[in-house]
């Protein structure tokens, strides 16, 4: 039962398993420093050296009664208050923040020229500006972002785009080709085909369940094989002889096999025809032989051969090793026929 499940689950999950392994491997090869902006990205901190008197906090709070937090910042020549009206757990989530002039209290809207200035102040190298645009979510390259951003494209080899929060002027990210490559790998690894920037989606949840089942059936199979001592290395084992009798009238043959070689592989490697469609998984039940010694039957023997035939000495060649027998008989019904 678990073998059948393992086979059909494999058909469902194999492509995704391959995708997970390959994208996981490639994610390890990504230059994460470069993907986060690399050497061109500098993050400079604010310093206050304020001479003129600022608008008093109480005046600010009277003018903007929904304020939850005030931060004093400097945006080039201007001293500004950043007012927070609502703040989420992450900067990429929806946040309500504005800048006001800290001297006269007037609202500051971040124009194109200031956005470019802020962007270039965070960019170390020399490059021409290709394009500047104000974007609203959803924003390409930054799937999670829920705030309006200025996007400034510069002409460098790695196609850097600089994103500036349109409300606060803060540098949100430097995105370049390495970032985009990482985003693509993560999208595939997380099965985030709708580009939500999340791995909590229904695609990956369903495949994760199927894959766990696949791993469990495989593991169970592995344990069964180990318990049945089916992992034997033939290379260093001694030689033994096996006499193969044919009921079909062919001449008997004597084979020289390794003791720790399955009868199936021994027969196949010596050009003795025996039927099998599963290649030794104990799944198809076709590689039957007869032996008078009544060796201990395996679970697969019992599954595929009737009790009466087991009792009379029939077994599967993929389940037994050359060291267990010295003589076997391939009857006509074991050759080239489908049994059960």
């Amino acid at each position: 039962m678990f073998k059948v499940l393992h086979k059909w689950l494999a058909l469902l999950v194999f492509l995704q398993l391959l995708t997970w392994l390959l994208t996981g491997f490639l994610l390890g090869k990504v230059d994460h420093n470069l993907a986060s902006g690399g050497a061109n990205y500098i993050n400079h901190s604010n310093t206050n050296s304020q001479q003129t008197a600022l608008m008093s906090i109480n005046e600010v709070l009277q003018a903007y009664p929904l304020t939850q937090e005030i931060v004093l910042l400097r945006v080039f020549e201007q001293v500004v208050y950043k007012l927070t009206f609502s703040k989420s757990a992450h900067a990429y989530q929806k946040n309500e923040e504005v800048l006001i002039n800290a001297v006269d209290g007037s609202r500051i809207t971040l124009d194109k020229a200031t956005a470019i200035r802020l962007a270039m102040a965070s960019y170390q190298a020399q490059a021409k500006i290709l394009k500047t645009e104000l974007l609203h979510p959803p924003i390409e390259d930054l799937n999670q972002q829920k705030n309006a951003l200025w996007r400034i494209d510069v002409s460098d080899k790695i196609n850097t785009a600089i994103f500036i929060n349109a409300q606060t002027g803060l540098v949100v990210a430097h995105v370049n080709d390495e970032t985009r490559w990482r985003n693509l790998l993560m999208m595939l690894h997380f099965m985030d085909y709708t580009q939500q920037g999340s791995f909590n989606n229904l695609f990956i949840k369903s495949f994760a369940v199927l894959t766990l089942l696949q791993a469990l059936t495989g593991l169970y199979w592995l344990v069964n094989l180990l318990r049945a001592k089916q992992f034997q290395v033939k290379w260093f084992s001694k030689q033994t002889t096996l006499t193969v009798n044919h009921n079909s009238g062919q001449k008997n043959t004597v084979l020289h096999l390794k003791k720790r070689q399955t009868l199936l592989s021994g027969l196949v490697e010596n050009d003795v025809f025996i039927s099998s469609t599963c290649g030794g998984g104990g799944v198809c039940g076709q590689c039957r032989f007869w032996n008078k010694k009544l060796i201990k039957p395996s679970i697969s023997d019992i599954q595929h051969i009737s009790a009466a035939d087991i009792k009379s000495g029939y077994r599967l060649a993929c389940q037994h090793y050359a060291q267990e027998v010295s003589e076997i008989t391939l009857t006509s019904d074991t050759v080239g026929q489908t049994i059960k």
Binding site: L21, N200, F231
Partner: protein
């Protein structure tokens, strides 16, 4: 052919099979639990209260005159008090916005009140201690000292509060701890849990690809070819 495919699939999986199970189990855990829940956001109030209009008697101009070298000045809440926070020569300073007094570092009582204030449902305290050295691995390389405020309950919710700024630095709970452990197992980095390009992971990934390809070949032969294992196999 099918016999060889099965042989390779079997032997390679003997080597990487357990890791396939670990990958799928840890992956399932990580995708099933909402990442915002793992971050602790379900426990925390979103946003803060509005600052009252008359909250500030000690104006920012007085503050700037007193501390001309203050950096990153912010006005916000410390539990039920409105305060200024800023950096002075790299150090965190807190000033009461109504009196202008310096607020000394936060004691256990206040740390617990602050931690409770972040929760939208009140929970009983389990244990609170000040961590000054050898921090638990769950807070990584965050600056010490920190108040570790642990709450009672199955999830052992723990809030880390800075005694210098009174702010919430980290939220940890058992689901996060499970996530962290499984993440390490997923990337096979059992030390720092950060290196997704370690040798062990690469060896297992490449072996995993080979084992998988043998399995895919086996599947193809089983489904689409009526194999007879004979001399040509």
């Amino acid at each position: 052919m099918i016999r060889i495919a099965r042989l390779y699939h079997r032997w390679l999986m003997l080597f990487v099979g357990i890791q396939f199970f670990v990958w799928s189990f840890s992956g399932l855990y990580m995708v099933m639990l909402n990442i915002h829940y793992i971050h602790g956001e379900d426990y925390l109030v979103s946003g803060q209260s509005v600052l009252p209009v008359d909250a500030v008697s000690y104006d920012i101009n007085a503050l700037l005159a007193r501390f001309p070298h203050a950096n990153s000045i912010r006005l916000g809440w410390l539990h039920d008090m409105v305060i200024y926070r800023f950096k002075l020569a790299g150090k965190d300073i807190m000033i009461d916005a109504s009196s202008g007094h310096i607020i000394p570092s936060i004691d256990q009582d206040l740390a617990e009140q602050i931690a409770s204030g972040y929760l939208h449902k009140s929970l009983p305290f389990s244990e609170t201690k000040l961590i000054t050295k050898s921090p638990p691995s769950e807070i990584g390389s965050r600056n010490l000292p920190l108040w570790q405020v642990e709450f009672e309950g199955l999830n052992s919710l723990t809030l880390y509060i800075s005694p210098l700024s009174g702010e919430l630095i980290s939220t940890r709970h058992n689901a996060w701890r499970g996530f962290d452990l499984l993440w390490r197992l997923h990337i096979m980095d059992y030390t720092e849990g950060e290196d997704i390009n370690n040798i062990l992971l690469n060896v297992f990934t490449i072996s995993g690809v080979l084992a998988l390809l043998a399995g895919i070949l086996l599947l193809y032969l089983r489904l689409f070819k009526n194999n007879c294992v004979d001399a040509s196999a």
